[in-house]
């Protein structure tokens, strides 16, 4: 019997020939991701660090992205503490404010490579499955322990195989696909499992795959991963990654479940409050009014997302009954959008440009809603209170659906304008 992707990665990292689901293995991750929360993570072990030191300067990756630039004295003090830790212990992979959302930066900088194991103190660490890495989220305390020891335990998850067939129609995007899958699987349908995507994936860009892998945690999967192919190779080549050691499932691997999704049948959808798996076709809710439209985040704020929004909004104006907020995923994605006029088109249409970072997604600053307001967002979570106010509503959608909703001030179907 062969092994799945995650079984192979964990066997390799544990130095074993074979592992089976349920088995507990001790592993040393290739990297440990932290962001603004590094200040709290380091704060737990200051004396321990003095005594035992940082296990490996190459292990941590720190990207300041969640509340940037600092919004108040407390967040500023947190950033300062992170910078002091980086200097004192010689952390090699540090990205201060001015790079973008951590997950995008990790992939852009070639720090998550095919076949790697990356743990991160952020639930969307699973994004690196887009480039064939096994990556998953852990809590702050575990990140603290990893800084001291470099190793932890993992339970080998069983795997769900999802076979993607055909091609997404015009006006339907990878976000619609993954929201539809989550609607089908439900919010805990992949709990303690890894999800492997198979099938006709050659038409999905690394950005598309990022969007899909990123939302793996919204069905509670432990990882969501794509195979390594020419699309990945070309992208990673651009990121300067030369030596790759990709891994993929054996043909005779054993799966917990197998399911097929026909991409040609997909339609634009939204996730309605307050759960990501409350998925409904846009067509059923057309005309719903929105106070705010948000384009950005690690899920959907890359160049291709900004571009499709600009195609819809170029030469037009955002409806006076709503407002559009844009937070590009990273500086390099923003640069591409600056170079070809995408940003000019969005800003001239009335979009408000924020610095590359998490922006309003987590409700800590920038674009917080008032009670009774409603936002349509290209982000990944519509939990009650997520954007800072428990008496507001969040709908999740593709960047195209966000843009066309900004244009009309009410939910509209991007297939009608594209």
């Amino acid at each position: 019997m062969g092994m799945t992707f995650v079984e192979k990665v964990l066997a390799r990292k544990a130095g074993l020939d074979k592992v089976v689901p349920g088995q507990i293995v001790t592993v040393r991750p290739d990297h440990l991701l932290m962001h603004d929360n590094a200040s709290a993570i380091v704060g737990k072990i200051e004396k321990d660090l003095e005594r035992w030191g940082l296990i490996d300067k190459e292990l941590p990756i720190i990207v300041l992205d969640h509340v940037i630039p600092a919004s108040d004295e407390k967040t500023a003090a947190g950033h300062k503490k992170v910078r002091e830790f980086v200097r004192k212990y010689g952390v090699r992979h540090f990205y201060d404010i001015g790079y973008g959302v951590c997950h995008q930066v990790v992939v852009e900088k070639g720090l998550a490579r095919p076949g790697d194991l990356v743990l991160g103190s952020d639930s969307h660490t699973c994004s690196y499955g887009a480039v064939n890495a096994f990556a998953t989220g852990i809590d702050r305390t575990e990140a603290s322990a990893l800084l001291l020891t470099g190793e932890t335990w993992l339970r080998v998850p069983a795997t769900m195989k999802m076979d993607l067939k055909g091609k997404l129609p015009v006006g339907v995007f990878s976000k619609d696909l993954i929201l539809s899958i989550i609607g089908d699987v439900t919010a805990d349908g992949a709990s303690y499992r890894c999800v492997e995507f198979h099938g006709d994936i050659e038409g999905l860009t690394v950005g598309d795959r990022f969007t899909i892998a990123n939302m793996g945690v919204e069905m509670d999967s432990k990882g969501a991963v794509f195979p390594f192919d020419e699309v990945t190779m070309e992208y990673l080549d651009g990121a300067g990654v030369k030596d790759t050691n990709p891994i993929w499932a054996d043909d005779d691997a054993s799966y917990w479940s197998e399911k097929e999704y026909v991409m040609d049948d997909m339609v634009p959808v939204v996730s309605t409050p307050h759960k990501v798996d409350n998925v409904r076709p846009v067509e059923e809710l057309k005309g719903l009014k929105f106070d705010q439209c948000f384009l950005g985040t690690c899920t959907n704020g890359r160049y291709e997302d900004l571009r499709i929004a600009a195609e819809i909004l170029e030469g037009e104006k955002v409806s006076p009954s709503t407002r559009l907020i844009i937070a590009p995923t990273s500086v390099s994605e923003l640069s591409k959008a600056l170079a070809d006029g995408t940003i000019v088109a969005l800003v001239e249409a009335g979009g408000v440009l924020l610095p590359p970072g998490c922006g309003p997604c987590l409700g800590a600053h920038q674009g917080v809603m008032a009670p009774g307001e409603r936002t349509i967002s290209s982000s990944n979570r519509n939990f009650k209170g997520r954007m800072g106010c428990k008496d507001s509503e969040i709908y999740l959608a593709s960047p195209a659906t966000v843009a066309v909703t900004a244009l009309f001030g009410e939910l509209a179907d991007p297939r009608e304008v594209l």
Binding site: S123, T125, T136, G137, S191, D220, V368, K384, G385, K390
Partner: protein, 160 residues
């Protein structure tokens, strides 16, 4: 001892809103906001030794450990649930908080029922019925028994 009962898919934003995550990390900072958007009476009404009985996928969402840190700090003895989201499950082990995955016990529980938990035996009595729940694998039990991952890690480092 009071039992606090909640439903399915209670997420980390309901347990501890994101707006506090970069300003509150210590137990006394977390406590006033614990379960703020789920149950405004919880933070002021909870007592040491209380239990939570919850539905499926409890703690889904962010890798936010403050709810676990806070619940442990106010003295919650255990959370009895149908299922727990993966990162929350791991965070509970790392803080030494007992999670009891036992859907039958959750279904059986009605408000006012007596609830008796025997962690060592792996049994839970609800009203007149007794249910069993699986313990943690041996490899991991040591982390919880040490009182949490950092205590466990320090002991390990001392031995080196």
């Amino acid at each position: 001892m009071k039992v606090w009962k909640y439903g399915d898919n209670v997420n980390t934003d309901m347990l501890f809103p994101g707006k506090y995550t970069y300003t509150c990390a210590k137990p006394d900072e977390i406590r006033p906001h614990l379960l703020e958007d789920l149950d405004p009476n919880f933070a002021s009404g909870v007592h040491s030794g209380d239990l939570l009985v919850v539905g499926s996928n409890f703690g889904c969402g962010s890798s936010r450990e403050q709810p676990v840190v806070g619940l442990k700090a106010v003295g919650i003895e255990a959370i009895v649930g149908k299922s727990f989201a993966r990162i929350f499950f791991r965070a509970a082990i790392n803080q030494g908080l007992l999670l009891v995955e036992c859907p039958e016990a959750v279904d059986a529980y009605k408000e006012g029922d007596d609830l008796e938990l025997d962690a060592k035996a792996g049994t839970i009595k609800v009203g007149g019925s007794t249910f069993t729940f699986p313990g943690l694998p041996l490899e991991i039990l040591g982390i919880r028994d040490a009182g949490g991952l950092l205590e466990y890690t320090r002991k390990k480092l001392e031995k080196r």
